[in-house]
């Protein structure tokens, strides 16, 4: 009777089942595959929309299945879950369209789309998980399902990138497991609770809790690419563009960042975490990552690598927002989860378009490409400017709230981090924009495909334009109902103000 109990599961299944079917589809059944993918994506969209509406009206969506004697597999839709679910659902749809165009006539598509769907399943699972063990399960599933995507090209380089990726993530996963089990032995519960569930623990567990927190951060930090743990991300750029897009914008790094959000808010709780004194180290770590990632990005000539380092830097805004530990900073962090996703996916789509249409991989090859592909590059420009934090694009809103949040709790130094990072962002993005728009084409494109009088295929062009518009809209109409900002405010309210 109670359909609400099944909807989270359905959301997860809506990409899992198509994925499993796609695995077994023969390579040449393109149409079936596309249909399946799109049906799944739309179905998920509808379901998520339903949940959004429901949660807005105060309904509960929760699926609960027994896993261990005292531990359940819980999928629950709360505001925080939904913001991430919506992001991944929308971007999955877009990325699927993009991937269909990108991988046209390339080999192993069944495998690719199969894992692609699994990857989204895992992400959605992460978003919806209602306790740590569920989170952990989907988190590891994500690791596993991304791996084949990273090594998809099957070159030696890809393999090595895959190994690096695994070396990092498996290590992180191990730490997470340890932290989770440890926490479980201390508290006997793993259920995500607003403002955490560790209050009851006495002072004698203080050290243990600090270590657990550190373990969590290290574990999630691997995927969120916090600084000493970011090494895998630039290497993983070897994957096809839709994968990089998904990896950077939605799935992997976001999963890490989302994990940090969950741990701080729903496991430890802001207050308890602040009491433990772990927040400012976290903030510093995020700050270092932000600056370091930007600095490294400056040196990259490979477009995707530069974007990768940019991701390292940008994702830490989320962490920073969480670590600043104020309601407004929370809004900034959470909303950046969405904003960074939209903007970064745009950039990666564009990078993919360049590679696919013109064979351009290096920034030095991009001279004058704005005339060849104005729409793509316009989208790229929006994304890049958004990353810098140029108003009124989405990135500005995030930075705005981060800065305000920092001021609110008296962490003035964050302003310098933000400013420095923006400066560096500008330093590595603006030269690209300069090249695209103002330089003359110096050499023939490395490997040009002809798409008639269009600049590229529709399936390739549409997604970046759409996401760029979304990025623009997210900034421009930030205060509209159901906008990411509004949801972030709802979340902050729940975390800070509700009894």
């Amino acid at each position: 009777m109670n359909w609400n109990a099944w909807i989270p599961l359905l959301v997860v299944a809506s990409s899992l089942l198509p994925g499993l079917i796609i695995f077994r589809l023969p390579e040449e059944r393109v149409r079936t595959r596309i249909t399946l993918n799109l049906i799944g994506a739309f179905l998920k969209l509808v379901l998520v929309g339903w949940m959004l509406w429901g949660v807005y009206q105060g309904q509960h969506f929760e699926t609960r299945l027994a896993l261990l004697p005292d531990l359940d597999l819980v999928l629950r839709a709360g505001p925080l879950s939904l913001i991430f679910v919506s992001l991944s659902t929308v971007l999955w749809l877009v990325t699927t369209v993009y991937a269909i165009g990108y991988l046209e006539n390339s080999p192993h598509r069944s495998r690719f789309f199969g894992f692609f769907s699994l990857c989204v399943t895992a992400t959605v699972g992460i978003a919806l998980s209602g306790n740590l063990i569920t989170f952990l399960i989907f988190y590891e599933l994500l690791t596993l399902s991304t791996y084949p995507l990273i090594v998809h090209r099957g070159t030696e380089e890809a393999r090595r990138a895959g190994q690096t990726y695994l070396a990092y993530t498996i290590f992180g996963g191990a730490l997470l497991l340890l932290a989770t089990v440890w926490l479980y032995t201390l508290t006997g519960s793993l259920e995500f609770t607003p403002r955490g569930f560790i209050h009851g623990l006495g002072e004698e567990h203080r050290t243990a809790l600090i270590i657990i927190f550190a373990l969590f951060i290290t574990g999630f930090g691997v995927k969120a690419a916090l600084v000493p743990l970011h090494g895998w991300l630039p290497q993983a750029m070897i994957a096809p563009a839709p994968v990089s897009a998904l990896l950077h914008a939605v799935a992997v790094v976001k999963a890490g960042a989302f994990g940090i959000i969950r741990v701080v808010y729903d496991v430890f709780g802001i207050e308890s975490a602040a009491e433990l004194g772990v927040m400012s180290p976290l903030a510093w770590l995020a700050a270092v990552t932000i600056i370091y990632g930007s600095l490294r990005a400056l040196f990259q000539n490979d477009l995707k690598r530069r974007l990768a380092f940019s991701t390292i830097s940008q994702v830490s805004y989320i962490t920073l927002g969480v670590a600043i530990a104020g309601p407004i900073a929370t809004i900034g962090g959470v909303v950046h989860l969405v904003h960074q996703g939209i903007m970064k996916i745009t950039l990666f789509f564009c990078a993919g378009n360049l590679a696919e249409t013109l064979g351009i991989h290096k920034i030095s090859e991009m001279n004058g490409v704005g005339h060849r592909m104005p729409w793509t590059m316009a989208a790229f420009t929006v994304g890049a400017l958004g990353m810098i934090g140029v108003p009124p694009i989405a990135g500005f809103v995030s930075k705005w709230y981060l800065g305000l949040g920092a001021l609110e709790v008296g962490e003035g130094w964050v302003m310098f981090v933000l400013a420095g990072s923006s400066l560096l962002n500008a330093a590595y993005f603006l030269p690209i924009l300069h090249r695209i728009w103002f330089r003359k084409q110096t050499a023939a494109w490395p490997h040009e495909h002809n798409f008639g009088n269009k600049e590229t295929a529709w399936a390739l062009l549409l997604p970046p334009v759409v996401t760029a518009l979304m990025a623009l809209a997210a900034g421009l109409v930030a205060s509209a109902p159901f906008s990411p900002l509004e949801w972030a405010q709802l979340i902050a309210q729940r975390e800070f103000y509700q009894p």
């Binding site: 027994a66 004697p69 090594v151 340890l178 032995t185």
Partner: protein, 486 residues
Amino acid sequence: MGITFIDFPWAIALILLPLTGGLSCFLWPSVSKILGLVTVIGVMLSATGLGWLVIDKGVYHYLVGGWGAPLGIELYVDGLSLLMLMVTALVALGVSIYSIHYFELSYQRRFWPLWLFLLTALNALFLSADIFNLYVTLELMGLAAVALATLTGSHDAFTAAMRYLLATLLGSLAFLFGVVLLYHSFGSLDIAVLSERFESNITAWAAFGLISAGLVLKTALFPMHFWLPPAHANAPAPVSAVLSALVVKASFYILLRLWLEIFSQLDTDVDILFGFLGSIAIIWGSLQALRQTRIKLLVAYSTVAQVGYLFLAFPLAEKVGVTAWSAAVYLILSHALAKSAMFLAAGNLLRFGGHDRIADLDRVAQRLPITVAAFALAGVSIMGLPPSGGFISKWLLLQSALVQSQWGLVGVMLIGGVLAAAYIFKVLGRAFTQAPLPHEPGVVPATMEWAALLLAGGAILLGFFASEILAIIEIGSPFGAGEVKL
């Protein structure tokens, strides 16, 4: 006679079916394939029947010959042995399906009787409640295993099997010596009677030492693992699967059983030693696996590492007995399924490529997707990643270690998991790469691929039925009642 379905002596069927099957296969070799399959399906059904019976009515006793404890032999089924029987049946089914097309005709005739006798031995072993009977089943199992391990007929296989034979004979002898001492100290061979009469004296200690040592040798705990990797790596794939999945576990099962029932009354620190060796085994086995260039050796070394995990339960059980032991049992189950799947998959790869060098895997991910999927899924369980049986066991182990603040063991488990991932993805990573010159691939029948996937899927599914399975383990409370709640 009025034998209803539930009263049917399933336990006896579990022994007699494979025995008769083996004999029939020997008598009528030309139909051995069918006979074997029918037998294994029968075994599967019997295990299910027994499971039903035990879950329904609790612990199951059977007095063979009607004589009863001190004089005769008893069969005893509690949750622990039931699960062992069930997983045996499952692995047996998978392996048998796989073997239909794996062996050539002449090897079929050799394989089936030996395999069914091995199955007999395993079933009898898990059912037995009599230490001398255990010795006989151990020997039966050992000889069958050695014989099966030689089936590839290669030089390496014979050398490895010879080493295996010597190790298994030595282990059995040490066990027998222990049995002798126990019998002469306490005047019984029945485990239950022994546990009643047991008292800690010097003879009991010696018996304990001998039995532990013998079984540890057979279980291939570091550094007694020397015989295992070559033997498992050079055997035919289905045999490797059975050896790693079940045979090694059988001796561990005995060790566990005796430790729990009899030797728990000894006040020893051996558990710490076991934990220590287990830790080294995890690290060492994983490192060795990482070093290998051949898949089957890699998988074999992985078994060495996984055996190490089993022994971690000993030091952990001191305070949280049930959790730690359940973890070990769960690990046995999931490892049995996963490792057999892994070996079967490795066999497919070997057949496909004509070799099992990891570096030259030549795009198998595309050519043999099901096999690679099986390998990967099994790998997930071996690594202890969720959602899989391996994860549950690792979870429970970690939990029990953390409750007692056993940091060393915690570290070892984590490092072991990471290393496991490293060696498994060493293979999987290569599966996606492409060799510059694709060679002519061998044909791998679908049954072989699906058999591997079936088992791997089982290992994953175990991760979803933890509460049910943990409840089954508790039947007859083999780990003693009264547990500190975590």
